[in-house]
Symmetry: C2
Subunit: 314 residues, 2 copies
């Protein structure tokens, strides 16, 4: 059966079956709006994923796509130091899409929501020429100020939690027709977001934070500009994982460090801390210097093309 | 120039130029999340519009599409009795889209946000095969309970504010290649949402409310089911506007009342009130009866195909 045969309301029924409302969710799916009760300010962010731009249905299962849509969106709330509590998801898909795909997508959304500690509280479904998914996360700052990109101070250190360059290594092999190393392929399909670490960083006194969606150097440039500082990344602090070495060797002897410096979509969190305040599990990878906003690698301008991922780019 | 030549970050810059943060907006666009300060519970809803499903670029200008995306979404917050304060918008569009279209879209989003009293606080842009827009509204219940679909009680009256069946009449003429009557064509291009009337209804004691997006009878069926009541619409209370009569006559002598009973996309608000509590400007169009959930027209089951608009339908 296809979504066209199933119909919109039946699809919504399948996606939302059994969803309740508890904790901060006063009213869940099924009315004109959901209603959430927050303890502090609301942090909100929205993220769109498009078939054949952000994912391919032959590389990623429906469940992978659902999980990734949630993970990428929730990471933005983590990056503010907020506690994500609710999510709304819009699914636009061709009427010819098999209902099994929508069921798998819904299962992925729900399992990743559970992993992230958020409740699915609403959404929209419609037909479209290709699959387009937009997720919006609602997060509670619970009386604390948001950790923006703007607070990094000279003398602090940069620290990261989560993975760098795994998803990019996965795309590199998938793009060449391979399905291994499996670890990097899985990393492209579903990022391992360090859920809960945004609050940990905020409570430890992080002065600026971002999630690495475009690539470490590209995202650090946002902090450098917003904070008016120089960020100096120490490549000696990076451990290159075996699968990344294997991929770099297999695709022509490139430097596997490139994946870590420029690869996006793993949604690690990177933040500035006083050196004495780095939380357990975070790795120091650089430092904050005074000067015209810039990102350096080992004290020097980086020679590579630190562009990160661009949409609409040729 | 096209969006592909302009690039993602330049596009975002054009869309968000000059946007600030004031009132309930603690932090506007430009970080991982926006931050809003609410006085009460959060009401949230998301709405997706797809090119050639919800709009056609030869029928609607870019500004129309931007305005409609905001209006349709904000109407859901009005229907809860909440005060809309913020909006995030995702724009997926082909790289070949002229930048003028995106500029017009952004202008429409911003002008309708101003009309609705909400601030644009974030969004996402990406490339896609067709234009897909998702808007998510953030609204403040300000210490009041939400007006759901579930509270209508036998003995109350049904009242409506805003237009019924104007957009449907517009689609009827546009679909036949005409551009007039201009009033109904304009109504299809940009709905006239009765902004502020959701709060008015809540303060007047509305017990159940919905915005008419699928068609009056279809949307009343949601209230009937959620409230466990019968809703009886009195067609004697409807005034058929001249342009609707003209369209019905032009397309073959159909009953213009059909537009009002089944036409969607005008986003009128319909609510149940005690008869003595109907706010000024609202028109009584029926009553709430005890019984198995149902919607009647003049006391009888309606013979027409009260289906409303369905996505994925053949």
């Amino acid at each position: 059966m296809t979504l066209g045969e199933l119909g919109e309301f039946a699809l919504i029924g399948r996606i939302t079956a059994g969803l309740g409302a508890s904790g901060p969710v006063v009213l869940g799916v099924g009315d004109d709006c959901a209603v959430l009760r927050l303890a502090g300010d609301l942090a909100v962010s929205t993220d769109t994923m498009v078939e054949n731009v952000h994912f391919r249905t032959d590389w990623s299962s429906a469940e992978d796509v659902g999980r990734k849509a949630v993970a990428a969106c929730v990471a933005d709330a983590e990056a503010m130091g907020a506690a994500p509590i609710g999510l709304v998801v819009s699914l636009a898909a061709p009427a010819t899409t098999p209902t099994e795909w929508a069921d798998g997508f819904a299962a992925g959304v729900r399992s990743e929501c559970a992993a992230a500690g958020v409740q699915l509280v609403g959404g929209d479904t419609t037909s479209a020429a290709q699959i387009v998914i937009t997720a919006t996360v609602l997060a509670d700052l619970a009386g604390q100020p948001a950790v923006t990109r703007a607070g990094a101070r000279a003398g602090q250190v940069l620290a990261v939690v989560g993975r760098l360059g795994w998803a990019a290594a996965g795309v590199a092999v998938l793009g060449r027709g391979f399905r291994s190393p499996r670890a990097v392929v899985l990393a492209h399909r579903v990022p391992e977001v360090p859920y809960g670490q945004g609050r940990v960083a905020a409570e430890a006194g992080a002065s600026a934070m971002i999630d690495v969606s475009d690539g470490l150097l590209a995202d650090l440039a946002h902090i450098a500009r917003a904070s008016g500082v120089v960020l100096d990344v120490d490549t000696g602090a990076f451990e290159i994982a075996e699968p990344q070495k294997a991929v770099a060797a297999a695709i022509g002897g490139g430097d596997p460090l490139l994946f870590q410096l420029t690869g996006g979509d793993d949604h690690a969190l990177v933040a500035a801390f006083d050196a004495s305040s780095v939380p357990a599990g975070w790795r120091v990878i650089g430092r904050v210097l005074a000067g015209e906003p810039d990102v350096l690698v080992d004290g020097a301008p980086w020679a590579g093309a630190a562009t990160g991922w661009r949409h609409f780019a040729k």
